[in-house]
Structures are given as C-alpha cells and as structure tokens.
C-alpha cells in the first residue's frame, strides 16, 4: 500500500461494498442509499433512476410524469436538426458509433437550440420567475458578460427560435402537455404568457425554452438542466446515425450548394499560378 491510497473520491451519489475475493469489484452498489441491483432493479423506471442520480431522492408522481414527458419530447429532434445532422454525418461515412454521439453532443451543446441555451434560459427563469415585467426587462436588456468565455455570446433570447415564424405545433403540444400535468407555477404561467413573451423576444418559443421552463420548475439547477438536455436528445441521434450507416450516396451532399468567392483559379502543374 502506498501513501496515495488515502486519496479518495468523495460522493453523495454512490457507495460500494467489495466482493470478498476482489477489492476491485463491487458486491453491492448503493445509489443515494438504495441498493441498485438488490432493490431498485425491477421496481424503478429509467427516468426515476435518472432523477435519483441527479437529485438523490425519488421523484413525486408529478415530477416523474413531467420529466418523462420532457424526455419523450426531446428524444428525437428529427433529422433536420443540426445535432442529428451531425450524427448522421458520422453515420454516412462509416465513422465510429461513439463519434456519432460525440458529434450530436458537440453540435447540440450550443446557444442555438442546444444545451447551453437551456442553461442560459434556466438562469433567466431563476432571475425572473413568473414576473412578466422582469422578463420584459431581461429580454430588452439581456445580461452581457464583461469578460470573454469559450462559449459564444448569446445572439437571441434564450429559449426562443430566432429563425422561427410562429410557435411550431409540436412545441405548443409539448408545453400544453407539461403545463396540464404540472403542479407548479412555471409551466402554467409560460403556457398563459407564451405569446406575450414571444412578442417581447420577437421570436417564437422553442423546444429549448420548454425544456428550460420544465427543468426549472422541477428544481434542477441550470447546470443539471444542461446535462439532462444533452443526454435526453441522444436517442434520436443514435437511431438516425445507424439508419444512415454508409448511406453517403443517398444523403445530402449539397454538391451545388457552395459558392467560393475567393478563388485563385486553377493552378498550373508547376505549382505556379497562371
């Protein structure tokens, strides 16, 4: 045993007991006190287990219903969505399956319809709650970071689609479903004030906005919401990437969809420009 063995991983999430013949294998695993394989397995749904991992206590029936509904609503943004497009771009060239999900996460992480937008929108919810005047103020004068960051600055009101026309029907359907099942204040308020907020933002509510409101109402932190949004959109990315496996010849290449405006023209074989 070396001195470094005093270094440990501190966690409130996970406890293990070792197998008697192998200290590197667990005999039992406990998630926030529950025996995962000896108790939870067979009793708990996947979405309840996800909740437990993040929140360390079981969800109420309403909380479970809302997170489950949101998970269904986010599971597949469809093949036109940039994150799914990225996953399919991995699929068509026969890239590794992991890279398809990495691509979906990277492209779906950003400020436009991505997880960072959800985080920022949740910060708006934390600041404004159900105060319409506060929303009007933050939309008119959004917070600006004094110093730069790796993340691009927001270019639109988070949770709203800058390229939208009116709120798409599926976004309204998801919001209505969640607001109907809610026992909180946020989702019913958003459903009632959606059009007012859309007028303030000059753009329609997006799925990212519904996700942010739901996750805020459920008590998740913005950082937890960002993580959950990244995770919950992966099923569609995986399915579409597999469907397009090596399908490059029947996948959009946009062959005539690029115009080069700074072109030196063909260069002679000597390497010198004509």
């Amino acid at each position: 045993m070396t001195a470094n063995q005093s270094e440990t991983i501190s966690t409130k999430i996970w406890r293990e007991e070792p197998e008697p013949d192998n200290p590197f294998a667990a005999r039992a695993c406990y998630c926030s006190g529950y025996d995962v394989y000896g108790d939870l397995l067979g009793k708990i749904t996947w979405i309840e287990y996800v909740w437990l991992l993040f929140r360390l206590d079981p969800p109420t029936p309403v909380q479970k219903t809302l997170l489950e509904g949101l998970a269904v609503g986010l599971a597949n943004p469809g093949p036109r969505d940039p994150s799914i497009h990225a996953a399919m771009s991995a699929g068509v060239g026969g890239s590794t399956h992991a890279s398809a999900l990495i691509a979906a996460i990277a492209v779906g992480a950003g400020n436009l319809g991505g997880a960072r937008e959800v985080l920022t929108a949740m910060q708006y919810w934390a600041q404004c709650g159900t105060d319409l005047d506060a929303w009007r103020g933050i939309i008119a004068t959004p917070p600006v970071e004094e110093r730069t960051d790796v993340w691009p600055a927001m270019e639109h009101t988070p949770g709203f689609d800058p390229n939208g026309a009116r709120c798409p029907t599926p976004v309204r359907q998801l919001l209505d479903h969640l607001a109907t099942h809610s026992d909180g204040a946020i989702l019913p308020w958003l459903a009632a004030h959606r059009e007012t907020l859309e007028q303030c933002a000059a753009s329609p509510l997006a799925f990212s906005g519904v996700a942010a409101a739901t996750l805020h109402e459920l008590g998740f932190s913005p950082e937890q919401g960002e993580m959950l949004f990244l995770m919950l959109r992966l099923p569609g990315a995986a399915a579409h990437a597999l469907e397009q496996h090596m399908n490059w010849a029947r996948f959009p290449f946009f062959g005539s969809g690029l115009t080069l405006t700074d072109d030196p023209g063909p260069v002679a074989r000597t390497g010198k420009q004509p």
């Binding site: 590197f24 036109r80 771009s89 991995a90 890279s99 400020n111 800058p162 390229n163 290449f253 390497g271």
Partner: protein
C-alpha cells in the same frame, strides 16, 4: 499477470519511460528534457518523437507535407468538416467542434480507417509476395475477404487530385521511390484496369510513403489523428461568422420518409 493481482500491482503505481511533469520544475518526454531540448524543436518533430520515439527532422518534414497536401480540405460539405461547421452554426464551442469532427474522421470511407488499413494491406501484401504469391492473387484474396482494397477507390470523385502533388513533394525530399510506393502504384495499375476501376487514393499513397520510412500502422494512425484539423477550423469559423442556423437549413419536405403509414399508439 491478470485479474485482481494485476490491478493490485498497478494500484497507485504507474511505471513509465514515456514522460512526466515535475510540478514547478521540469518536463520529460521519452528520456529528453522538454524545456531545454525538445521544446526548442519544431512542433511536428516533437509530435513525431512523442508518437514514434524517432528523432528525425526529415521524417517530420515528410509527415508535415503529407498533412498539408492531403488532409485539411476546408469544405463544410465533407462529413467530418460538416460536424465542425454545424457546431459553428449552432453556436457551440470551437473545441467541441474540432474534437467531435476529429472523432468523426475515424471513418470507413475516408480518414483514419483507410489510412491504417492501407498500410496494413501493403505489409501483408509484401509478405505474401515474398512467399511467392502473384500480385493478382494477393489483390483477389483481399477483395474476396474484404470487398475493397483499402486506399483504392473514393466516394464523390473517381480520381484523387492529391496523388501527383504529393509524389512531387515527396521527391523534393528524396522520397516516394521506395518499394512500398512502387507496390502501391502496381496495385493501382491492376485495379484501374480491372472491372473494379478503383484508383489509388491519398490514403494508400501516404501509407506507402510512410511504410517506406518503416512506420507501423499504429504509428501512422496516431500521426494522422490531428492531420485534418486545419480544414475544420475554417469551417467552424465561417459558420460562426454567418447568421446562426444558416448552414444548410433543411425544410420539412427534404425528409424522404419511407416508413410505416401513420398509425396510433395503444
């Protein structure tokens, strides 16, 4: 040694000749001091040394030229670059864009898989030729086993515009005339005149040039991992500079649905 005994042996115990950081003091890579020695050399020489353990400005220059000519096409339509561009249009970070695009470069039709497999093919083919098989037998066996000869044929375009420039560059360094390059061109001549019509692509030529330098497929794979990034950055930057969501938006009619008829759940 395997199992728990092996894990106990390695518990808090990583013995390595590769390198280490001595905080606040110095860094060592493969037995050389970084701050006073390796750090003063060109970055490509550092990378080649890190991966292969070989100190060779000549090899580093050859690999750098292969990278520059072959790998970094700044076109967002190419699938790995498209991921970087999509990250830009979605306002993700630059590192997420490049890291994900690099991971997608580990593809079957292009990128890392053909590069590694092409070199592996040349080594296996050379071994079979030395055992007395004909080139035709070797190629036919490869096609029968794998349906393709890695490094030959190309999606989107038939010919590879990079072959002549790379050969010309290699010759400026006195390279490109070795036995594996000759073998690669012989395979090209055979396949081009066969019913397969496949022509040599850059993966095969780069692999052959570096096989003549004695690199292993694993060395080549590691060395090629970052070769594509100079084409990815422009795609990300360009998409970042254009309106958000502007890269190849698709209207709903661009989905050519071929699945089940509309039905109801439950």
């Amino acid at each position: 040694m395997t199992g728990p005994a092996m894990l106990k042996e390695f518990e808090d115990n990583w013995v390595t000749a590769m390198g280490a950081w001595f905080p606040g003091e110095r860094v060592v890579l493969r037995g050389k001091d970084v701050l006073s020695d390796l750090g003063r050399r060109p970055w490509m020489e550092y990378l080649v040394y890190a991966i292969t353990g070989r100190e060779s400005p000549e090899l580093a220059r050859l690999i750098e030229g292969i990278w520059a000519i072959s790998c970094s096409y700044p076109d967002p339509r190419l699938w790995n670059n498209r991921v970087a561009a999509l990250a830009g249009t979605s306002r993700s970070t630059g590192v997420l864009a490049i890291a994900s695009a690099v991971s997608v470069t580990e593809a079957t039709l292009y990128g890392l898989r053909p590069i590694k497999r092409a070199m592996d093919f040349f080594y296996r083919a050379d071994s079979k030729l030395k055992q007395g098989q004909s080139l035709e037998e070797v190629i036919r066996t490869e096609l029968k086993s794998f349906r393709v000869v890695s490094g030959y044929g190309r999606p989107i375009a038939e010919t590879d515009e990079r072959i002549s420039p790379l050969l010309r560059f290699a010759k400026t360094l006195g390279k490109g005339n070795g036995p594996y390059v000759k073998l690669a061109l012989q395979v090209h001549d055979y396949l081009k005149n066969s019913r397969y019509k496949n022509q040599i692509n850059i993966a095969a030529l780069a692999a052959a040039i570096l096989a003549d330098e004695g690199l292993s497929p694993e060395d080549l794979y590691n060395l090629a991992t970052l070769a594509f990034v100079a084409g990815m950055f422009p795609c990300y930057i360009d998409a970042r500079q254009k309106p958000e969501g502007a890269l190849y938006p698709l209207r709903t009619t661009r989905i050519n649905y071929r699945g089940a008829e509309t039905r109801h759940w439950g």
